[in-house]
């Protein structure tokens, strides 16, 4: 990368960085004042490790996670930590969670986890919490307040219905297009926890919310949905800079609602279609989103990926590492006050693979 580009990169936080190159030139910035420092972290999500029998797991999903770990290990300087966005397992079995954690253990760096519905509904998160820790928590890092939510809960009546077996409940929730499904939510008690947690944070502190479900209402049919999204957003409204990073949707999505930026993670396992491709129902993908490329299923990693997050002055730039595709950068644009794709945001810059129908 040329000297000129390096300087621009450092100032704009990656908006002109050749998408997908190692952030080799990403050196520490000294902003000098007390306040949020610049730092980076990796964001990997939705591996859906699936146990077949004995020591056999679905090879395809194993490979996706292995590749993401190997690529994340190439980053230099090292990211401050790694966030894992949920759905490490497919049916929440101990074998799957353990196998996924074993693959993740190859990561060089500390990992923080988010609960996904595929991790939860077999045993209500018991094995996950035993191996990993609490399913909602917060911490501060270099002036940024991180909040991790379990946003895949649902109505108690559904969760505690008289299921034939816990696996039956898990499979019902695992099926994305389940007509008898139940919507995700953060829920009353956790929202109350969130309210209390945020009450000690100053309005100028940048906030990053890690969530598995979108904390928006995009398409109910596939649970691209959080039932109490508005109430959660309400709790986040008073703050200057809030970013929500979520998993679950297995596709590029991004949005701006008031003061809150939203960014979805790609899955390491497989891509999901955009909701509009199911023409029998209406859906509400954020208009801002420039869609990812359509995948060629021959290449098992096409339509998958992971994310490298660059935080600068409390704003988030997401670098998508997309195997078999041009990598993409969705960076927070100060002038427009919203995330913007650095290559494709203009309609005239779109390319045929972004046309989903």
């Amino acid at each position: 990368m040329s000297q000129m580009n390096r300087r621009r990169f450092l100032r704009t936080g990656g908006a002109v960085l050749a998408a997908g190159s190692l952030p080799f030139s990403l050196v520490e910035l000294a902003f000098g004042q007390s306040g949020p420092e610049d730092f980076t972290f990796a964001f990997i999500s939705d591996s859906h490790i699936t146990h077949i029998k004995g020591d056999r797991f679905v090879r395809n999903w194993d490979r996706g996670m292995i590749q993401a770990v190997a690529e994340a290990n190439l980053l230099s300087p090292r990211p401050d930590f790694i966030f894992y966005g949920g759905d490490i397992a497919q049916l929440g079995t101990p074998e799957e969670i353990d196998h996924g954690l074993e693959i993740l253990s190859g990561l060089r760096g500390d990992v923080h986890h988010v609960m996904g519905e595929h991790d939860y509904y077999l045993d209500l998160g018991e094995h996950w919490r035993k191996r990993i820790g609490p399913d909602h928590y917060s911490f501060d890092h270099k002036g940024v307040h991180f909040v991790v939510l379990n946003s895949i809960l649902t109505w108690d009546e559904w969760t505690h219905r008289k299921w034939d077996t816990p696996m039956q409940r898990m499979k019902e929730m695992a099926r994305l297009d389940n007509p008898d499904g139940s919507p995700f939510m953060v829920g009353d008690s956790q929202r109350e926890w969130l309210r209390k947690d945020l009450s000690n944070i100053s309005k100028s502190t940048p906030i990053v919310v890690m969530s598995h479900s979108p904390l928006q209402k995009i398409y109910r049919g596939w649970n691209f949905w959080t039932e109490d999204a508005e109430q959660v957003q309400e709790l986040l409204k008073p703050f200057d800079k809030v970013t929500v990073l979520y998993g679950h949707v297995h596709q590029i999505q991004y949005n701006q609602i008031g003061n809150i930026s939203f960014h979805a993670a790609m899955a390491t396992a497989w891509p999901w279609p955009y909701p509009k491709t199911f023409v029998q129902e209406a859906s509400h993908l954020p208009k801002l989103t420039v869609e990812m490329n359509r995948a060629d299923p021959f290449f098992e990693r096409d339509g998958t990926g992971w994310q490298f997050i660059n935080m600068h002055t409390g704003d988030v730039d997401v670098h998508y590492a997309l195997p078999d595709n041009e990598n993409r950068v969705v960076a927070f644009n100060e002038q427009q006050d919203q995330p913007v794709d650095t290559l494709y945001q203009e309609e005239s810059n779109r390319i045929p693979p972004q046309d989903h129908y």
Partner: protein, 387 residues
Amino acid sequence: MTRLTPRRSVTLSVLIAGLGIPMAIAAPLGLPPVPIPGDNPQTEAKIALGDRLFHDPRFSVDGTISCSTCHEREKAFTDHRRLSEGHSGLLGTRNAPTVINSAYMEQLFWDGREPDLEGQSKQPPVNPVEGGLADVGVLVEKIRSEPSYVEEFNKVFGVDAENITADHFADAIASFERTIIAGDSPFDRYQYGGDESAMSEAAVRGLEVFRGQGRCVSCHLIEETQALFTDNRFHNIGVGFKAIRGREAEIAHEFLKAKHAGADVDKTVLVDKEASELGRFAVVEDINKVGAFKTSTLRNIELTPPYMHDGSLDTLEDVIDFYNNGGREKETDPLTPFLSGGIRPLDLSDQQKQDLVAFLEALTSPEIASQVTSTEIITGSTGDQQP
């Protein structure tokens, strides 16, 4: 999908032979017309000059290495060596690909570091383990100091001695290489020529495996009206990564540090074995192109052993076993974490593997086969240090 014509290309449709008059090359059966760049049209005189330059060993530091040293017509325009050897017996890091049908490539070299044949031709003469010349200035001086060349360059390009450049050299060689094309194999006659008896039964079964369980056709393209057998893309299929396994991060960083400090990619990847294994990553610095190499054409593949970017597989049977095992020589070898999602264990039966080999052998163009005298793999150095 594959774009067949580079940005600058114009496909000429009028066939007129004769000196100085632009000419087209008829597309062989099974291939599209050869893409010809608009700024380097074919003429008979230019092709003849390119042929002469291609075979001239003066463009090396010790006068022994020409393009044809590693791309010899009698060896199907390869050298039948695992790794190519340059001047003074110096060994490079890569296997010499064939020139045959390279005119259809959208990027040249195993890692695609040159966008066209012209660019490619200027690198080997000045690479420390190939031609070994200090720079292209030396190459141009050698042309200028040979009166017969000065005369030819003047005839072809209309330039005086002092205006001869390395680009003229490159244009002539590329023009010659654009005539080294071949289709019309038994497969082409079967698939596009309507001759159902052109391939053996085994090869016909092998074609089904190629398209189906073998999962070959997605990268080694066969289409309804033509078969390039390459997608012109880069994939990590698991070859050679043992050399850098577990140390990819440190090697990538050493390499990038040197590159950003001005190191030449062409020189580095042929001299430094570990950097060489980075593949396409060395060129585009894309995190998911570590260890990715260009899809080769499979035309005439039985004539161009050994195989892969490091020449590590000797026979077609070895190659098929490598793919059948999901991107490794032995089933028990570890897989590279950077493995392309297109590679996976194939579960082929012995019969299917044999049929696949029969099919690959049906991709040989008769006119090429008639020029090739042996396909034995050559080991041992030709250098002075040879014991």
